[in-house]
């Protein structure tokens, strides 16, 4: 049963979240922060695009950091893999 759930859950996770789960977490955290600020009466909408761009920049930095060193093969660098998308 566990094996069957894993077989379904893994591709679904990859499909929705993609190569970098930290990017997905950061983006959702940005939306949550915007909602929290809005609920507190502040201009929470600013937090959404700022947080999303920051999460994207961080993800890209992590993904490319290993490539700047010849022969380096960091976990982030290996996440850059050829795929159809």
């Amino acid at each position: 049963m566990t094996f069957s759930i894993a077989r379904v859950a893994r591709p679904l996770f990859d499909f929705v979240v993609g190569d970098d789960w930290l990017l997905a977490s950061g983006a959702l955290a940005a939306i949550a922060a915007a909602a929290g600020l809005a609920a507190a009466g502040a201009a929470g909408w600013i937090a959404a695009p700022v947080g999303v761009v920051a999460a994207l920049a961080w993800s890209l930095r992590r993904a490319t950091r290993g490539q700047s060193t010849a022969g380096a093969d960091s976990g982030a660098a290996t996440s850059i893999r050829e795929d159809a998308r």
């Binding site: 993609g18 939306i31 909408w45 999303v52 890209l60 490539q67 010849a70 660098a77 998308r85």
Partner: protein
């Protein structure tokens, strides 16, 4: 304005995925024969149509605020995946998608694979490769059509955008009888990523209770912010690098 962007996003996403699916189907069809390949394409098309027909109406039954939060978040995650890869390609950290190279590789694999029949399918290899190729490329488009369409209250318009792209790409592929290598795939992927990220942020925010200044018009400055952000990130990452051709190793240096 939103209807135009809805159509554009579905059209561009579908065009990119159709080009990639066309490469796979062409390689298998030319190498192994068309009958089993086209049955695979038809079977995958039928599965995708069922997915859209079932999931689309089901989503519209969800209350709008919950729908926007869930679907907006999913579109945001999806859009960021497209955007991230497009920026990595534009900045030379990931090789550019080369349909001709992929076609040659697929055709070589297809030529080397053993043939066997199963049921009414003469060539099971050709059937499964065409089926999986179209289904996997199409699932993303189906997802975009149902989520984008249901949020805008027009799954039909989103589906029309996607189908238009499929027809144009297929007709062009039949006419030239070769993979569509000249389509600016990375720019199209960047555009789709920007649109999905923009609408995903907007809808997820609305669903979470965020009030956007100017209401729906906020989509345009949001799109501009993400566009400028993507351009700056690509420039930042591209310092000292050149765009990688297909098959090149990203770790090979500046």
């Amino acid at each position: 304005m939103s209807a135009v962007l809805l159509f554009l996003a579905s059209f561009l996403a579908s065009a990119v995925e159709s080009v990639e699916a066309l490469t796979i189907v062409l390689a298998v069809g030319v190498t192994r024969g068309w009958r089993s390949s086209l049955i695979g394409v038809a079977a995958a098309g039928a599965v995708l149509a069922v997915v859209v027909a079932i999931v689309g109406p089901a989503l519209t039954a969800i209350p709008i605020r919950g729908l926007r939060l869930v679907v907006g978040s999913l579109l945001l995650l999806f859009g960021l995946q497209w955007l991230r890869k497009a920026i990595l390609r534009a900045s030379g950290h990931k090789s550019i998608h080369d349909e001709e190279a992929i076609y040659r590789r697929q055709a070589a694999d297809a030529a080397a694979a053993a043939g066997r029949s199963r049921g009414t399918i003469d060539d099971w290899y050709a059937f499964t490769i065409a089926f999986k190729g179209v289904l996997l490329e199409g699932l993303e488009v189906a997802f975009i059509v149902v989520t984008f369409g249901s949020n805008q209250g027009s799954v039909a318009l989103a589906a029309a955008g996607a189908l238009s792209a499929v027809v144009i790409v297929t007709a062009t592929g039949i006419a030239v009888h070769a993979p569509l290598a000249r389509v600016p795939e990375n720019r199209m992927k960047l555009a789709v990523g920007l649109l999905l990220t923009t609408f995903g942020t907007f809808w997820a925010g609305e669903g979470a209770g965020v009030g956007w200044p100017g209401g729906d018009v906020a989509v345009l400055p949001l799109l501009a912010v993400y566009g400028i952000g993507a351009w700056l990130l690509a420039r930042w990452l591209a310092v000292g690098r050149s765009v990688l051709p297909a098959g090149a190793s990203p770790g090979a240096g500046a």
